[in-house]
């Protein structure tokens, strides 16, 4: 069972490669972001454990002492995330190609993705529009909930209403993300244009909502389960501990979460590839 889950049908190298690149980039950014902090902590006998010492006082002082660094760091992080998103917009066909086909080398899949960049950008634009609509729907729902809450007395009901906008907007955004994945799979494995792939994706989600939507939710849950497991482990081992064994265990667990996330995405696109191939066979 576990072996079956771990297997990606020969696509493990890509999973490892992407995870290592993401982690490498993250480490570079983390080193840059914490440079001023680590300089201060390196002079302090407690080192990073000082962050947990003295009831948050040292952490508070660090935050205040390096207040000037937070804005440029947040800016740098924002730029890198935007660049990362841009790169994966162009490479957005890579995982669908790899998922739908066995034996394709990653660089060929990447080249195919770049070749189909206009289609992928078109899909990204449609998805962007969808996200904007989800945001607007969330905003409108929040406004309605706020007006509704003004007439309510029960604080729990008011809190629940306050979450309505987030819930609706979040659910819609998740559905848009799911649709975007399915549309990319259709575009890359069936050679469809952005508009055709959009329609095919919507049709597939409508035709087999339980299968596609449930699978999307399932794979998404697995991703979050990894994050939750790492958090639980941190709680279990006491994340504030300075014991080398605890530090090492948590670092390993957190890196496995990133690897697991990339792996799950690949599994999802392999599953989608199978569905799209079946759909193509039916159509032909």
């Amino acid at each position: 069972m576990i072996r079956r889950w771990l297997s990606t049908g020969g696509r493990g190298g890509v999973v490892w490669g992407v995870a290592v690149i993401e982690l490498g980039l993250a480490w570079l950014l983390a080193l840059a972001a914490t440079a001023s902090l680590t300089g201060t902590l390196a002079r302090h006998p407690l080192g990073a454990i000082g962050l947990h010492a003295q009831g948050g006082r040292l952490l508070g002082e660090l935050v205040a002492l390096h207040a000037h660094a937070w804005e440029p760091m947040a800016g740098l992080l924002g730029v890198v995330i935007v660049a990362h998103a841009g790169a994966w917009m162009l490479l957005g066909g890579m995982f669908p190609v790899l998922g739908a086909t066995t034996g394709v080398r990653w660089h060929r899949a990447a080249a195919e993705s770049l070749r189909r960049a206009p289609t992928l950008l078109g899909l990204a634009a449609i998805a962007g529009l969808g996200y904007a609509l989800a945001g607007f729907a969330g905003y409108a729902a929040a406004g309605w909930a706020g007006r509704e809450a003004a007439h309510r007395l029960d604080v729990r009901a008011i809190t629940a209403l306050g979450g309505t906008g987030w819930l609706l907007g979040g659910a819609l955004a998740w559905a848009i993300g799911l649709w975007h994945d399915v549309a990319r799979a259709h575009a890359m494995s069936r050679g469809r244009s952005a508009m055709q792939a959009s329609g095919s994706a919507a049709l597939q989600m409508a035709r087999e909502p339980l299968a596609t939507v449930a699978a999307g939710a399932g794979f998404g849950l697995v991703t979050w389960a990894y994050v939750g497991a790492a958090a639980a482990l941190a709680g279990l081992l006491d994340a504030r501990s300075s014991r080398p064994g605890v530090v090492a265990a948590l670092l390993v667990a957190q890196h496995l979460v990133v690897l697991g996330r990339v792996h799950t995405r690949m599994k999802w696109f392999v599953w989608l590839g199978g569905r799209v191939t079946a759909a193509r066979a039916r159509a032909e």
């Binding site: 302090h44 006998p45 990073a48 009831g55 890579m94 809190t159 890196h255 990133v258």
Partner: protein
């Protein structure tokens, strides 16, 4: 019968509202007040009996009408409200209209009454000329009729829907000091209140279906009167009266010791109510242990409903308002902290009734110290406010105060008046945080037991009086000695920055195989308090050296059979008023391995962020 039982029985036999230790009765108020929730008004009539507590005869009275602070955009309150304190203005204004004010023989005092000409566009004070002087110790009784129109919830008072927090709703006599000078002042946005002790006997009438929580115990009612419900509250030894009324209040009660604690809360807020009661179950005995008896038989805690948050976090005698999000985990002790703070005001404001306008640090700062002290009593070392292991760092009450004080960029003295601080933010960081951390420093230096006894002596001396800083200084001088009096005077009366830092830690091998080196300790600021300097060598052995810390720079020599690893100054944290603790310790040589977990964890979160826009 044991002594404890005898005392207990005597307490039980005391009439409701009376005190074991009598408080002066300078200003007694007897009102019948009718709440009209539709118009958001309280119409009241009754009497004010005022006794001249000074040594001179007076022929005038000053009354505070603080609800008029919300009478329009140009009032003194609104003019002094900085953007970060209260909203620009309430959606609906409020006011206090005194319709009749007469002496017992019918002389109309309103005809010649004036507002303070020194404060234009403001009617929060009323100057009344008396037909004849009131000699020292003599009394005058005034018959008064007035209507309080509540603003929409703002600055601790007002209404939201059918919820009404009725505070500053009646004309209240200002304090006549012993030398015959009036301590009267307009309602300032950064200031709270100052009034004399007395007896309050208030009948509150309100529509059926409403639930009322008020200052003092309910001695009659609720019973129907003229188509309304009426209940009567009587209490002595207090200097204000407030009440809350709402037709949707839920109620939770618990008897803690001899005190009946009531929580009035919105539907669905049962969790916050239970947490308030739970924390009071520990806090009441803890406060009594440290600061003396809580003499009243009742405490009402109001959790204002959503929309009325502006009325939350306020103290009135035997009635406090608190509040927090019901869904916060138990280890985020927001409701506990606010509840403790507002209850602490029953001591530092309530019984120890300093002038909150002139010396705000004597109530807010001392209360903040008491809050953190009891947080530590109840929740363990440091008094953690936030303690969520999964999120990593925790935030302790003492650290919260220390960071607030350390954040002061341009220090001011702590004994300034509330209206002398340029903004609400600067008021808060000085009056609350810095005062608390000064007191904490004194506690750390002289020991918790000795300091608790000192503070208790101050509370006992100042109970039911209007103490000034000199009252506290005198107690410190008597209990702790002149040097500590000098310390608190410097800490409260001057502006200061204080920091200790290890600016150098070195060692080198000398002939014979031993190691010699030094630590350089820099001191910025006025306090020459001896501290320990601790050398730790590379084998982990520690050696402490006591230094006088009486110079800006102290060089402490090191000698040992191993190289120096690190140096710490005051590792016991006996001077928490320092600006920074980070520079109190220093490695002889920088180390890199201990920072790896930090970088790794940041990398993890960055990787998750990147993954969210990844393949």
């Amino acid at each position: 019968m044991s002594l404890a039982r005898a005392v207990g029985a005597a307490l039980v036999l005391l009439p409701m509202g009376a005190l074991a230790q009598p408080a002066p009765r300078v200003a007694d108020y007897t009102f019948t007040a009718t709440l009209d929730p539709a118009r958001h008004t309280v119409r009241a009539d009754g009497t004010i009996r005022w006794t001249n507590p000074s040594t001179v005869a007076v022929s005038e009275l000053w009354l505070h009408q603080y609800l008029n602070g919300f009478a329009g955009p140009r009032t003194y309150f609104m003019r002094t409200a900085s953007g970060d304190a209260w909203p620009a203005h309430p959606p609906h204004w409020g006011r206090l209209a005194v319709e009749s004010l007469r002496t017992a023989d019918g002389a109309d005092l309103l005809a010649t009454a004036t507002h303070d000409p020194a404060v234009p566009d403001d009617t929060s004070q009323l100057h009344v000329a008396l037909p004849e002087p009131v000699p020292p110790g003599a009394s005058i009784t005034l018959a008064v009729r007035f209507t309080a129109t509540l603003p929409e919830a703002v600055a601790r008072t007002g209404y939201h829907g059918t919820f009404h927090m009725v505070a500053q709703w009646f004309p209240k006599v200002a304090v006549l000091e012993r030398d015959g000078t009036w301590s009267h002042f307009p309602f300032h946005a950064q200031s709270e209140f100052y009034a004399d002790f007395g007896r309050y006997d208030v009948r509150i009438r309100y529509p059926r279906g409403y639930v009322v929580g008020a200052t003092g115990p309910r001695v009659e009612g609720p019973a129907p009167v003229d188509g309304l419900m009426e209940e009567r509250h009587v209490i002595e030894g207090v200097h204000d009266f407030a009440f809350a009324a709402w037709n949707h209040f839920r109620r939770a009660d618990r008897t803690i010791g001899r005190v009946n604690v009531h929580v009035l809360h919105a539907p669905g807020d049962e969790r916050s109510a239970a947490r308030s009661l739970d924390v009071m179950a520990g806090a009441l005995p803890a406060f009594e242990r440290r600061f003396g008896e809580y003499p009243y038989r009742v405490l009402t805690i109001v959790l204002p409903p959503p929309g009325a948050e502006a009325t939350a976090g306020m103290e009135y005698p035997t009635l406090i308002t608190t509040g927090a999000q019901w869904w916060l985990p138990r280890r985020v002790r927001d409701v506990e902290y606010v509840t403790l703070h507002e209850f602490g005001h029953q001591y530092f404001y309530g019984m120890v009734a300093s002038n909150e306008h002139r010396y705000p640090f004597l109530d807010e700062g001392f209360c903040e110290y008491a809050t953190a002290r009891v947080m530590e009593d109840l929740f363990g070392r440091g008094g953690p406010i936030v303690d969520l292991p999964l999120l990593g760092p925790r935030l302790d009450s003492w650290s919260w105060e220390a960071l607030g004080s350390a954040g002061i960029a341009h220090p001011l003295p702590l004994d300034l008046g509330a209206d002398e601080y340029p903004s609400w933010g600067r008021y808060g960081e000085h009056v609350y945080s810095r005062t608390a951390i000064v007191l904490r420093t004194l506690e750390r230096r002289v020991g918790t037991r000795v300091f608790t006894a000192t503070l208790r002596a101050y509370v006992d001396r100042a109970r039911y009086t209007h103490p000034t800083p000199e009252t506290f200084y005198a107690v410190v001088r008597e209990r702790l000695g002149a040097p500590w009096e000098a310390f608190v005077r410097t800490a409260f009366e001057t502006s200061w920055r204080y920091n200790l830092a290890v600016s150098e830690a070195v060692s080198a091998r000398v002939p014979g195989g031993r190691w010699q080196g030094r630590a350089v300790i820099d001191r910025e600021g006025p306090f020459a308090l001896p501290v320990n300097v601790v050398f730790t060598d590379v084998r982990g052995r520690r050696r402490a050296v006591r230094i006088a810390n009486d110079r800006p720079v102290t060089v402490v020599p090191y000698e040992g059979d191993a190289a120096l690893r690190s140096v710490s100054v005051d590792p016991e944290d006996t001077i928490p008023l320092e600006l920074r603790r980070l520079d109190n310790a220093r490695m002889a040589h920088e180390h890199t391995a201990p920072v790896l977990p930090l970088v790794g964890r940041v990398a993890y979160w960055v990787a998750l962020a990147l993954g969210s826009v990844g393949p």
